[in-house]
């Protein structure tokens, strides 16, 4: 088949835009893994809650979803902290006592079942609270189409979502790199016992990590809500993609996740173009398998940055 240059450019553009969002969702998931060493299968539901919270704020307060999405992200982040204190804390306590690799994986299994349960609970809760009918969050920005020369066009909403995603990722990187709390997070990720010895309150760090992780997922949901639709099972549709991003980037590696987000967004778009669109979803998994084959630790390794 012949691919026209404009078509290729369009796909690269859209692939990068989606990639930015994948990055934001993946980074949250990788932080939980890196800092707390746990896999959160309810991550997609925080993304879903972000979209519904944004929708609720828009209908209650009024205003543009792109302004209210950060507010929704903070609210969901608070839910994340609450869940961390109520449900996850007792598991870390047990994890601290556990000895050897077997014990570690056993704890993680408990955690996986707990978060899968949470995921189902949240989906059903959304079904009860907001109903099964999909909704769209109204924003004038989705109707505003940016037209580029050569017939390229996209909605302003998509552009803003991309800019917000990039700004968030840069902000997160700066936070982890240069602030005291950021350093404490990295220290906890490297060695929780040593961090505790030098006076880091690791439970506080877990709270902060949960807040950032769930808040980032919620932010992605909030800014994608006006572009796509909002429905109770939307989290289940992204969580597999988020895990692919995390594994491809190196589990626990923040920069790796960001890069993997872009890589997979782009690969999906181009894969759809060259291989046929029915293989679009497969491409992400093929990339993950290849990366695991060549570099089992992920493209940037599992360094807990």
């Amino acid at each position: 088949m012949v691919v026209q240059p404009m078509e290729l450019l369009e796909q690269i553009l859209f692939g990068l835009m989606i990639g930015g969002i994948y990055g934001v969702i993946g980074v949250g998931l990788t932080m939980i893994f890196g800092v707390m060493r746990l896999s959160n299968f309810a991550h997609g539901e925080f993304y879903m809650l972000g979209a519904y919270f944004t929708y609720t704020f828009v209908t209650l307060i009024g205003g543009d979803p792109f302004i209210l999405a950060p507010l929704a992200a903070i609210a969901v982040g608070a839910v994340g902290i609450a869940i961390n204190r109520l449900l996850f804390k007792s598991l870390y306590e047990e994890l601290k006592e556990a000895k050897g690799a077997a014990a570690f994986y056993f704890q993680d299994l408990k955690f996986i079942m707990l978060t899968i349960g949470l995921s189902i609970l949240f989906v059903d809760l959304a079904l009860v609270l907001w109903g099964p009918i999909p909704i769209s969050i109204p924003s004038p920005l989705t109707k505003h189409i940016v037209k580029l020369p050569g017939g390229l066009s996209f909605s302003l909403a998509r552009l803003i979502a991309f800019v917000v995603a990039i700004a968030t990722l840069v902000g997160l990187y700066a936070f982890l790199k240069f602030t005291k709390t950021g350093r404490a997070i990295r220290a906890t990720a490297q060695n929780p016992s040593a961090a505790m010895l030098v006076g880091v309150n690791i439970y506080k760090i877990y709270d902060v990590t949960m807040f950032l992780s769930t808040g980032l997922a919620a932010l992605a949901g909030g800014i994608l809500g006006p572009i796509y639709n909002v429905y109770p099972t939307m989290g289940l549709d992204v969580v597999a993609k988020a895990f692919v991003v995390v594994i491809t980037g190196g589990m626990g590696n923040v920069i790796g996740s960001i890069l993997a987000g872009f890589l997979i967004g782009l690969a999906e778009s181009l894969g759809g173009l060259f291989l046929g669109t029915e293989y679009k979803q497969v491409v992400a998994f093929v990339i993950m398998i290849i990366v695991l084959w060549v570099r089992p630790e992920g493209i940037l390794g599992g360094g807990r940055k």
């Binding site: 859209f14 099964p132 996209f154 999906e268 029915e278």
Partner: protein, 401 residues
């Protein structure tokens, strides 16, 4: 005297079990007692819950109406609702429960064709009636089961009538197709494509997307590059709204044509102005002036405060067929009832309904276009002439050049 005490306990327990069993049998057996149980299987949770809601609300309304009118042959109808999540394994378990524990007389459902096909054999083996109000896979009735009845137009009927209308009225030279990558989408594209090709239309693109996709720009961008006159899409309301929005985002303003899955007010809310100009099949329109349809819409609105979508109409008509069939047979004997339903001809929400030998309802399909009437989006019936409400407007006129 420990032994005799034990024997006494055993006798008492056995008596209780026998009494309970006798009570249970007299309560649920359709031939005796004052109620008859029927089951509804639908996706009430999971990704298709919005359609399950239509089915559930219509079923509750229909059963209440039947009971208000004194039931069927003097028996009250009791509705047992089971959630399937559109999952064949869950649905099989649910149907087993309906058949063995609830001892239902008939099963109504389901939304997903895959699920209907999965549970159909066990319902047929148990000699229970199966009313299929929504799933459209042609195979469901083609197998010729005696106790299966479908009360809506099947995939073949919907898709060929769609293609015929499009070729005749829009006179496209080229067409592109986009469908969900499952039985429903693949069958839809095959039937539509074959029909259009046989009438001289060239298919310039055939694209698929997986369930759960939210971004369709890859597919749409390929279709845009192929520059077709019309684009035929098979998708549910969520995907369809995304497809139309993203098509307009990348500047693709061609005539979109879809199957019946998008016939609901919720779809218009979701897609908003991006739905403008869309032509699709519908087997029921709440604006229809037919008395049976108007009565159904009035009752549904009074009870649930919203307009019924076509899935609700399919369920409503299935309960009508059930009631009229049993009454015509004058007995609960399932063979006689099945024969009676085959000879029915009645006015349902979807118009005049009668069944062919295989249990497929011979209903007329409507073709509608989303237009703006008085500043609000509305589905305007274009075809058939007896129901026509307005003229087709090409996208160039709606969106300008």
């Amino acid at each position: 005297m420990a032994l005799s005490k034990n024997v006494l306990v055993i006798i008492v327990v056995a008596l209780i079990v026998i009494a309970a069993a006798a009570f249970y049998l007299t309560q649920t057996g359709p031939a005796t007692g004052g109620t008859v149980k029927v089951g509804l299987i639908a996706p009430l949770t999971g990704g298709l819950a919005e359609h399950g809601l239509d089915m559930k609300q219509a079923a509750i309304l229909a059963v209440d109406e039947i009971n208000k009118q004194g039931g069927i042959l003097g028996k009250k109808v009791e509705l047992v609702i089971e959630d399937t999540e559109c999952n064949p394994t869950k649905a099989t378990a649910a149907v087993q429960r309906l058949l063995t524990q609830e001892n239902v007389y008939a099963v109504f459902g389901e939304y997903c064709s895959t699920v209907t096909l999965a549970v159909q054999p066990s319902i047929m083996e148990a000699k229970k009636l199966l009313f299929v109000p929504v799933s459209v896979a042609t195979k469901i009735t083609e197998q010729g089961y005696k106790y299966t009845f479908r009360t809506c137009a099947n995939q073949w009927m919907q898709t060929t009538q769609n293609a015929d209308w499009v070729v005749e009225h829009l006179k496209p030279k080229t067409a592109a197709m986009l469908g969900v990558n499952d039985d429903y989408g693949r069958e839809g594209l095959k039937i539509w494509g074959d029909r259009a090709k046989s009438k001289g239309v060239k298919i310039v693109a055939e694209e698929y997307f997986d369930k759960g996709s939210t971004d369709f720009t890859s597919q749409l961008s390929k279709i845009k590059a192929a520059n077709p006159d019309v684009i035929f899409v098979v998708a549910n309301i969520r995907d369809a709204a995304n497809i139309l929005r993203q098509a307009h985002e990348i500047g693709l303003y061609k005539q979109f044509v879809m199957l019946g899955g998008v016939t609901s007010d919720e779809f218009l809310q979701l897609a908003d102005d991006d739905a403008l100009g869309l032509v699709h099949v519908s087997y029921f329109e709440p604006t229809s002036k037919r008395p049976a349809a108007a009565e159904f819409v009035k009752k549904f609105r009074e009870r649930w405060g919203r307009n019924p979508a076509m899935y609700a109409a399919g369920v409503w008509d299935a309960f009508l067929a059930f009631k009229l069939g049993v009454e015509k047979a004058g007995t609960w004997d399932v063979d006689k009832v099945a024969d009676a339903i085959r000879s029915l001809r009645f006015e349902g929400a979807q118009g005049t309904i009668y069944f062919d030998e295989k249990g497929q309802a011979q209903t007329k399909v409507l073709l509608v276009q989303v237009q703006k009437v008085g500043g609000k989006l509305k589905r305007v019936i274009l075809y058939p002439p007896s129901d026509k409400q307005g003229e087709y407007i090409p996208p160039e006129k709606l969106y300008g050049g």
